[in-house]
Symmetry: C2
Subunit: 317 residues, 2 copies
């Protein structure tokens, strides 16, 4: 395989699966996983970064594979005690997971950047890939709903994605500077691929793409941009992507995801089950790349990662 | 029994035992437990108040009676994860206990006083006694040792009380204002008793006594001041009191504790085992009050509390 940097844009769980696959291909620190921070929020005085943590836990092998989120062998004594004390307990914080939030909050309060804190923690956990936040500046996703705007975690966790979505706003995005290593990698002549992982297009990937200068840098980058569809057979593998698409008046299809990313893409990976949409993807000027996209085992993750990088090699100019 | 306020000055574990006994005598919110904050510290960005929490957990029935500190049915997943992430883990924070620190830290950051936070939490836990910090201002006990000064928790927990003590300093004490309800109660004409619980004289009780105006207000108070010896048969029931006394060149005896408090006391409770020191206590102008002071059962706590209040009644002017 060719040597050179690979950038993966990731949200939480779905993105973390492919990020784990990519991390097993021997790229070392040439793999740069750029993670959404629009889901981040302050809760109980703690800085919580769900997508960064999902990626970190997955790459360190600490994630709960059955539950699909959070840490394995997690405990809930903190939450039980919080309830007894009358604390705000709509957001579940596991006893192990808390260590991450407490350490990060302390480091940020000391003046470290989110990039620095994340680097310390991922190195401590033996992760060789570079995991970076999309920006060190605050960006907060607001979900516009029929009932008014909701902070992302209020929509996602507290209200269980029940409100009807009408749009999204990324507060702070205009002033946010894309993370420096991310921008450097985008203009690296050796760059092999820019992978948009199968995370939610609206709330996981779009915040990254909406950072000033990112779309232009991706368009100008020497490497192909390949997205993996988070929609398979009209369903989201996890989370509210399909529901959001329906509420936004789009068909819940892989094709609609390809259309959403549009001219940014060189290739689009869709599942065998959605092979009938390949021609329509090709008609958008995007190379359709059909394979098995549902990642159940570690082997599935690695195979999909290999498939994406092989496709990038083919699509390279 | 007479009606009126009772003040108890308390440190952590030993004080909390007698505070629990006092809280079972039907005093309701006439019982004001004034708690040392010299042991408080900031750790991992959290505001930790060990003495306030020992009293609160004891009164709420949430304390671990076997271990003698912390909460019952405590878990240690947070600490395990903190270690994995490379965090500072010399101070044990239980998973349940963390809820207290997180809630308090958030409330203080919001601008609530320690008095307000403590009131909310103790009420939420169904505690009818008033538990108040000795002050809402920062006071930090520094232990002077042969190796230099140590912040209290570094001396007490990290260094396991091993350094030889040469003295104590209460940083911030000159500017600290005694808690308002405490000062009001001291001048209440109905005040029944001021009880110095069997906590460490040097690091639990002295910080309270060192607050500007407190000694004078105690001397002027209409109620008798009665201390319970934390030393029985030359040993501290718990903690480093006896070791400190030896290092400070004092005999490790109940009598030496009475001498330490000196003219502040009207009565001094010592154990049957130390009855031979009663005459020497009387010679100090302090009424010796001999009873069983070792509190193993809840009944022991209640009986000792009853004994102290009965003695206060006898000693009342």
């Amino acid at each position: 395989m060719k040597q050179g940097p690979v950038i993966a844009l990731s949200g939480g769980v779905g993105g973390a699966k492919l990020a784990l696959g990519l991390s097993r291909l021997g790229l070392g620190d040439d793999l740069l996983i750029v993670t959404n921070v629009g889901d981040d929020f302050e809760h109980l005085g703690l800085n919580i970064c769900p997508d960064l943590d999902s990626v970190t836990y997955a790459l360190a092998g600490l994630n709960d594979q059955e539950k699909g989120w959070g840490r394995a062998d997690e405990g809930w004594r903190f939450m039980a005690a919080l309830g007894e004390l009358g604390g705000d307990n709509w957001f579940n914080l596991g006893d192990r997971d808390l260590a991450m939030h407490v350490l990060r909050t302390e480091a940020l309060a000391r003046g470290e950047s989110l990039t620095q804190v994340t680097r310390s923690i991922t190195r401590q956990l033996g992760i060789t890939a570079q995991v970076v936040p999309m920006t060190d500046d605050p960006v907060r996703t607001m979900v516009q709903t029929a009932d008014g705007p909701l902070a992302f975690q209020h929509y996602f966790v507290r209200d269980r994605c029940e409100p009807v979505v009408t749009g999204f706003e990324f507060e702070g995005i205009a002033a946010a500077r894309p993370q420096a290593d991310f921008m450097t990698a985008l203009s690296d002549p050796e760059l092999l691929a820019i992978v948009i992982t199968p995370s939610n297009p609206f709330v996981s990937v779009d915040p990254i793409l909406a950072l000033p200068g990112v779309r232009a840098a991706m368009a100008a980058a020497p490497a192909p941009v390949i997205a993996v569809s988070p929609i398979v057979a009209g369903l989201a593998i996890k989370g509210p992507a399909a529901k959001m698409m329906a509420e936004l008046g789009m068909p819940s299809t892989a094709l609609a995801v390809a259309q959403h990313y549009g001219g940014l893409l060189d290739g689009f990976v869709l599942d065998h089950g959605d092979q009938d949409q390949a021609d329509a993807v090709a008609a958008l000027g995007i190379r359709p790349l059909v394979t098995k996209t549902v990642m159940q085992s570690l082997e599935d993750r690695i195979k999909l990662a290999e498939f994406v990088l092989a496709a990038a090699d083919e699509l390279a100019p």
